[in-house]
């Protein structure tokens, strides 16, 4: 079931009404059943893997939170990690590893005897396996108690608003909310509905419109050159933001109506003043997950055992971000995407003190906008590795994006590049206004739509609601365009 579908807009109100009619003690079972229906609507096969991962987390959690000896717990922890990573790797990376093995063996004239698998990636696997690993790690490190109720743990892992594309929620944030009695609160429901409306607007009006040209451009990169590629590079960054932050708002809004607070994934990412700052603002739930569960243990164990100083940090950053890139998909372009991030972050580690000194010498009115600009340029260009169909396409787009530089200064030529990408006047107006709106929300002093509309007069709030609804109806692109992050 997609978030932007008629089914979901029948499913969600039904769930909400029944949920609030039920007594507190029955709600977890209802949410679990609803989540299973949500998942199974996309195919029964999606259910088996998530149930196996939940069962592994449940039993290993009980063993890790028992009086057993440390060595035994360590063994349980390692087996659980291998099982969770093994399941993810089997479904997500088997064919990638097998294809690369074939290429390697072919170098020696040997044929790879292992056949490729034709299996569909279970929905949400990358998100729930990471949540399961985080849960196990937190129990093993003594920061979390094992959940004794298997149904509650299953509800945490399967909760439908975050099931398919996150946020990657921590058990210690979510499970206590399942035990709290949630009363019907009209204010919270209004806040949830606002988030859903704003998310739909970002996805359907801005994201889906940009998707038409970005998808066409990235599927046919060699048809374009210079300014067209430059436009594509920036538009794909806004497309990705509109799409994924739109998804996240719908997820957070759906959860909020049911009384749950999920982690927001975005905090005005295009205002980041450095790449490390960017990763504290973009896909926050996943970036903080890799920081806490990969970077921290790795960098600290290097610091304790090897004392490589800053080079230990750089090594840990590289490993963390290559894995982070690989998490998105089994391809070399995702690996390069992660590696490029680690290069930028390593540069920032090595130049920290120099940059701090520089920031004291240069007036903030110059230093900060320049930092935002350079970070934005890096983010847009590095995201090409994320968005392009393969590594060759990504390198083509980046290396040819500044060709025929004179085109950048001619109004007629700028117009012809937009036309070449498929834009008509109407598309340009809607896309341009959408991008301007994203920039405006970034420069607003408010955090999100709920803060922006808080304590505003009724007429003001309703004008915004009516505008958003009309915009979705009249300017929205009603295609079967899925959310980008559903593929992960």
């Amino acid at each position: 079931m997609l978030f932007v579908s008629l089914e979901y807009f029948i499913f969600l109100p039904l769930v909400i009404v029944i949920y609030y009619l039920l007594p507190h003690r029955a709600r977890w079972a209802f949410l679990l059943s609803g989540s299973i229906i949500f998942l199974v609507s996309a195919g029964v096969s999606n259910l088996f893997v998530v149930l196996i991962v939940t069962a592994i987390s449940y039993f290993s959690g009980l063993l890790l939170d028992s009086d057993k000896k440390h060595e035994f717990k360590k063994l349980v922890f390692i087996i659980t990690l291998v099982a969770d990573i093994g399941i993810l790797a089997f479904f997500k990376y088997f064919n990638f590893l097998n294809d690369n093995l074939s290429v390697f063996l072919n170098l020696f004239g040997v044929n790879n005897p292992i056949p490729g698998l034709s299996i569909l990636l279970p929905l949400g696997i990358s998100f729930y396996t990471f949540q399961a690993i985080g849960y196990t790690y937190d129990i093993y490190s003594g920061n979390q108690k094992a959940e004794k109720h298997p149904g509650v743990l299953a509800t945490y892992i399967l909760f439908f608003p975050k099931l398919i594309a996150g946020p990657v929620e921590r058990a210690y944030n979510f499970i206590p909310q399942l035990y709290q009695k949630i009363d019907f609160d009209d204010q919270r429901i209004v806040q949830g509905l606002r988030l859903i409306l704003w998310g739909l607007f970002k996805k359907m009006v801005i994201g889906n419109r940009l998707a038409i040209f970005v998808n066409y451009g990235f599927n046919n990169v060699r048809e374009f050159d210079g300014l067209s590629l430059f436009i594509l590079i920036f538009f794909q960054a806004f497309h990705l933001y509109a799409d994924f932050s739109g998804y996240t708002d719908i997820a957070l809004g759906s959860a909020k109506i049911l009384g749950f607070n999920l982690t927001d994934n975005f905090n005005k990412p295009f205002l980041a003043t450095s790449v490390s700052d960017y990763w504290r603002r973009w896909h926050i739930s996943l970036a903080s997950w890799v920081k806490d569960y990969i970077f921290k243990p790795l960098s600290l164990s290097i610091a304790i055992n090897r004392n490589w100083g800053k080079w230990g940090i750089i090594y840990a950053l590289t490993v963390t971000f290559v894995l982070f890139g690989l998490w998105h998909g089994a391809s070399w372009s995702f690996i390069v995407f992660g590696f490029v991030q680690s290069l930028a972050l390593s540069y920032e580690v090595l130049t920290r003190k120099i940059r701090k000194k520089l920031s004291r010498k240069i007036p903030a009115g110059i230093y900060n906008p320049l930092s935002i600009l350079f970070t934005f340029l890096f983010v847009c260009y590095s995201a090409v590795f994320f968005r392009a169909n393969d590594l060759k396409d990504a390198l083509y787009v980046i290396s040819n994006s500044l060709n025929n530089f004179a085109d950048f200064f001619s109004a007629d030529l700028i117009k012809s590049h937009f036309t070449g990408l498929g834009f008509n006047r109407w598309d340009a107006l809607v896309s341009g206004s959408g991008i301007l709106l994203i920039i405006a929300t970034h420069s607003s002093k408010y955090y999100g739509i709920n803060e922006a509309l808080k304590n505003k007069p009724v007429a003001y709030r309703w004008s915004i609601y009516v505008f958003l609804i009309l915009a979705i109806i009249f300017l929205g692109t009603f295609t079967s365009e899925n959310f980008i992050y559903f593929q992960f």
């Binding site: 921290k296 164990s301 304790i304 800053k310 940090i313 580690v349």
Partner: protein, 80 residues
């Protein structure tokens, strides 16, 4: 080693690595309270503490640290 002495030496290490010369450490300070005490500097701080006090932490010990007080207690237990 006395708590005051540990705190004094820790303050010097923190000031040097976080580049925050006016930093005053207290037992209940956490990473959120100290400018510059992020995950990158935390790694450098742990390595420097090991070198300075001639002690060796274990990974579970450092992952459990929540504030300066925890850090002082762990150092003290290693020195005694």
């Amino acid at each position: 080693m006395e708590n005051n002495l540990i705190l004094d030496r820790l303050t010097r290490i923190f000031r040097d690595i976080t580049d925050n010369k006016d930093l005053v450490l207290t037992r209940d300070l956490t990473a959120d309270d100290v400018e510059g005490w992020d995950s990158l500097n935390h790694t450098l701080i742990i390595a420097e503490i090991q070198k300075h006090f001639k002690i060796k932490f274990t990974l579970p010990e450092v992952l459990k640290l929540e504030n300066i007080g925890d850090l002082m207690d762990t150092i003290k237990s290693k020195l005694n």
